[in-house]
Amino acid sequence: MASRSFNQFCAALEKARVEIFAKITFGAAGAPTLVTAASKGVASVTRNSTGNYTLTLSDQYYGLLGFSGSWLVTGFPSTPNVALLSVSLSSKTLQFMTGNDEGNLANPSSGETLYLKITLSNTSAI
């Protein structure tokens, strides 16, 4: 693997940033499978309804700073849009949607893979 001299610090004004990554593959009818080896800090992902999913973190955090998804697909993704529906850090859950290019909730197609990056704050200090 890469044997380079990397810069190890990354500055920010927010304190105690934590980055969590998740890799989710989808099967028939939008059934999600969490790739656990690539999703440390994520307890589970479940499908609630069409294009509606709940990601549960392993731990509780003080704040959500960012949420970003990117698709690995062949051709046009069934659901290019990924957005948060609700956030409940007390229950460690992030509810998110997948949507098609017409703005409707839709299931990802079988074989599509979603990479998520979740940036959190682990302190109440300002």
Partner: protein, 130 residues
């Protein structure tokens, strides 16, 4: 430049995180150009055509896994790019990632970025098997 008291640490459960950034511009034919000064760790850019136009980034090094990518499109007026996806990821063997671009138009079709488009690409990689 900014003169602030920054927090320099950023925690994660995944060890060996590496962030790479790339800045890519295009000519009128979709040929990409890598701004090497702002793309440390990225060796080259090129075009691959399988199902359609795709931009291929070749990294200078191999990594264990890709954790995340994001592509921000900049355009002096208005870009036609509405979606960007990853089509292939092979950071542990070929050192490559390919991106496909989908344009607004008569429906949403696949095509190359225009000469007015430039891309700010951010990659988060894992450099550890732990």
């Amino acid at each position: 430049m900014a003169n602030r008291d920054y927090n320099q640490l950023c925690s994660a459960l995944k060890p060996g995180r590496v962030q790479l950034f790339a800045y890519v511009t295009f000519d009128g034919s979709g040929n990409p150009f890598l701004d090497a000064a702002n793309s440390k760790g990225v060796e080259s850019v090129g075009i691959v055509v399988t199902d359609g136009y795709a931009l291929q980034l070749t990294l200078e090094d191999k990594y264990v896994a890709l954790l995340h990518s994001s592509v921000a499109v900049a355009n002096g007026s208005e870009t036609n790019i509405v979606y960007t996806t990853m089509e292939t990821v092979s950071v542990d063997t070929d050192r490559t990632i390919t991106f496909a671009f989908f344009m607004v138009g008569d429906g949403i079709g696949r095509g190359p970025p225009s000469a007015d488009d430039s891309l700010y690409i951010s990659l988060t990689l894992s450099n550890s098997n732990t």
